[in-house]
């Protein structure tokens, strides 16, 4: 019996632009068990959002899933028709986005928008039932005076309240999986703390799984069970939250952790990662991080590294993990 909720196998997503094929995601695989929180970390352009959008079919022209499979709850989502996928999206997988203002419809009340999700899930239900459930949802996400709030429009809500309303909409379908794409990036730290507590709380109550996409390592340290680090459309490292933070293997992960200012010690100088983010139009033939890597070997420039798996499941895609790496020639730091 397979107890994985979500299984992604060698997923490839490309965008066909006038300038050429942009390989946003080039061959990633991961899986998620029910009730777990998976953190996906990466900078802009690393493919972290695109990989999750594929799960509910949000990839639009000129983007296309060019390879691989996505299995949700035993069903292959990537082969579904639009109609079939509609049943999965919203009912079983819900999504919340970074900017709650652009994701709520400004001409409908919050009540309308929650009702839409409820009708989508339960079909024809009575107005009283809708109202009852909407009020329940709004109180669940910590909005005061839910009856009054239902008839208000998004512009009458503040940023934090809008994010709560969006979470309420997502929860309307009682999803098994919630994809949260930078849910707190647009919010202030105090509001961010509120929303993260809320997500943890709801996760405990409902037992849903969460895919949390973020660039903030602090947030995943707090929320996630497992972490995936992405760079240039590929997974460079994955493991449990403890093994990633305690024993980072990949030079990119190490660099990211090192470049953060430590709150507890007033450090001297920050150690940045050199160079600039990569251009997805011109991916190198070897490791995508090689041009910025401090420990770059000759083989890194020409050949893609395999994923090396350790006993505890910690997987790293880096030639340094290969036994032959010790004898190999190190290229002098080639970053700018």
């Amino acid at each position: 019996m397979n107890n994985k909720l979500l299984e992604i196998n060698d997923l490839k997503v490309s965008f066909f632009t006038p300038a050429g094929e942009v390989k946003a995601v080039s061959g990633i695989s991961y899986s998620l068990e029910p009730g777990k929180v998976l953190g996906i970390v990466g900078e802009s352009g690393s493919g972290k959002s695109v990989s999750s959008y594929s799960v509910i079919g949000l990839i639009d022209k000129p983007g296309k899933i060019v390879g691989g499979s996505i299995t949700f709850d035993g069903k292959d989502v990537s082969k579904m028709t639009k109609q079939e996928r509609l049943h999965v999206a919203g009912n079983e997988v819900a999504m919340i986005f970074q900017d709650p203002m652009t994701c709520l419809n400004p001409v409908f009340t919050i009540g309308n928008q929650i009702a839409e999700s409820l009708y989508h899930k339960y079909g024809r239900i009575s107005k009283e039932e809708v109202k009852k459930r909407s009020v329940e949802l709004l109180s669940l996400v910590g909005i005061n005076e839910p009856e009054k709030r239902l008839s208000q429009y998004p512009h009458e809500f503040s940023g934090g309240m809008r994010q709560r309303a969006m979470i309420a909409m997502a929860l309307a379908g009682a999803p098994k999986l919630l994809i949260a794409d930078e849910p707190t990036t647009a919010l202030d730290v105090t509001i961010q703390a509120q929303i993260l507590e809320l997500l943890k709380d709801i996760q405990k109550k409902t037992g849903m799984a969460i895919v949390l996409i973020t660039h903030d390592l602090g947030i995943v340290a707090d929320m996630a069970d497992d972490i995936i680090v992405m760079y240039g459309g590929k997974i460079v490292e994955q493991g449990t939250v403890y093994s990633i933070f305690k024993n980072p293997r990949h030079p990119y992960t190490k660099g990211l952790l090192r470049s953060l200012p430590d709150l507890n010690v007033k450090g001297s100088k920050l150690i940045p990662i050199k160079g600039n983010p990569i251009d997805l139009l011109h991916l190198p033939s070897g490791c995508a991080f090689a041009p910025r890597c401090e420990e770059c070997l000759k083989v890194c420039i020409s050949n893609m590294p395999e994923a090396y798996k350790e006993d505890d499941g910690h997987t790293t895609s880096c030639w340094l993990m290969d036994e032959r790496a010790k004898e190999s020639v190190e290229v002098q730091n080639n970053g700018k």
């Binding site: 509001i191 703390a193 940045p272």
Partner: protein, 327 residues
């Protein structure tokens, strides 16, 4: 820091914006309300707070990008609050601004050498054409760009490189004082440390004084000597950064510090967070008394009646709270 000489002196600075509601009734947004503090030569003063707390407005009023409603801003002992036009120009040269968004703050139709050179032209700092070109090349190298970048346009650069152009533009006029308004917030995590290092390097080389506006308390702790915490137009706590993180006295600062996500799973999952209720109130209609009282877990009757003064609790630790040191 021994021998503190004051570079910028701010006294009772107020910046109100007039607004009208739908029936034409006038009101004020008190973006900065009665702020008093000094910035010492060579230091980096951090300014933190949530959006809407007035940190950016304060930075802009100080540089006379806005005309302050009342109060004074002195630089090197000279009150510049009322200066206009030609009289203000020499002081503009002393004070520069680095903006948050490196995409919006560079004119897309100007080349890098025009952007940096414009500052030189306005203040008449370049003698001849070749002198101007030399100076621009020198500035670009200083901030870590290549000299051949001079003829390119902003869209050809990544976010981090654009922020470097912004820095080159600011230091072109050899200022004493720079307001850095969230200089790394719009950048990718892996690029942030680069820009912070460049800013620190410039400070060492050119003896700069910074006002560093940020909502990222981790970055502030790293870069700043002293930190001011703002809430709804007021400075609620002002102290050396080491002390602020070790011994915060204002309940708002305490909450802010526990709200930062820590990149360490051990401490992150165990610590006790103070979760503030609600959100920052509207500056059009701020609460009476202490502005923080509506969200403060310790608020008592006195907090709604009396505005707490920013007072020294010893060792230059300024706090405005009726119960400072008791909670």
């Amino acid at each position: 820091m021994e021998n503190k000489s004051t570079l910028v002196e701010i006294r009772n600075l107020k910046q109100y914006f007039t607004i009208k509601n739908s029936v034409g009734k006038k009101g004020y947004v008190k973006a900065v309300d009665n702020v008093t503090f000094d910035i010492y030569k060579g230091e980096t003063l951090g300014l933190v707070g949530e959006s809407g707390s007035g940190k950016t407005t304060l930075g802009r009023s100080m540089l006379r990008i806005y005309n302050p409603t009342s109060g004074t801003v002195k630089i090197d002992g000279i009150d510049i609050t009322k200066f206009q036009g030609k009289k203000l120009l020499p002081y503009r040269k002393k004070m520069q601004y680095i903006f948050q968004d490196p995409y919006a703050s560079l004119d897309p139709r100007m080349t890098v050498s025009d952007i940096v050179g414009e500052a030189l032209d306005i203040h008449g700092l370049a003698g001849s054409k070749s002198d101007r070109a030399d100076k621009i090349r020198e500035l670009l190298t200083l901030v870590g760009l290549n000299t051949e970048h001079a003829s390119r346009y902003p869209h050809e650069f990544s976010g981090g490189q654009r922020q470097r152009i912004g820095i080159a533009r600011a230091i072109a006029v050899q200022p004493d004082f720079i307001v850095c308004d969230e200089p790394v917030s719009a950048l990718d995590v892996s690029i942030r440390a680069q820009i912070i290092n460049t800013l620190e390097e410039m400070q060492d080389r050119l003896n700069l004084t910074y006002l560093f506006i940020s909502h990222d308390l981790g970055v502030v702790r790293h870069t700043c000597d002293r930190v001011g915490v703002m809430y709804l137009g007021h400075i609620v706590e002002l102290v050396e950064s080491e002390e602020l993180y070790k011994n915060p006295l204002h309940p708002y600062t305490k909450a802010l510090l526990t709200a930062i996500p820590e990149p360490n799973p051990d401490t992150a999952k165990k610590r006790n967070r103070i979760i503030l209720k609600g959100e920052i109130p509207s500056p059009v209609n701020p609460p009476s008394g202490c502005k923080f009282r509506t969200r403060c877990p310790y608020a008592k009757d006195i907090c709604s009646q009396k505005v707490p003064e920013l007072t020294d609790c010893g060792n230059g630790h300024y706090v405005s709270c009726h119960f400072a040191g008791k909670i």
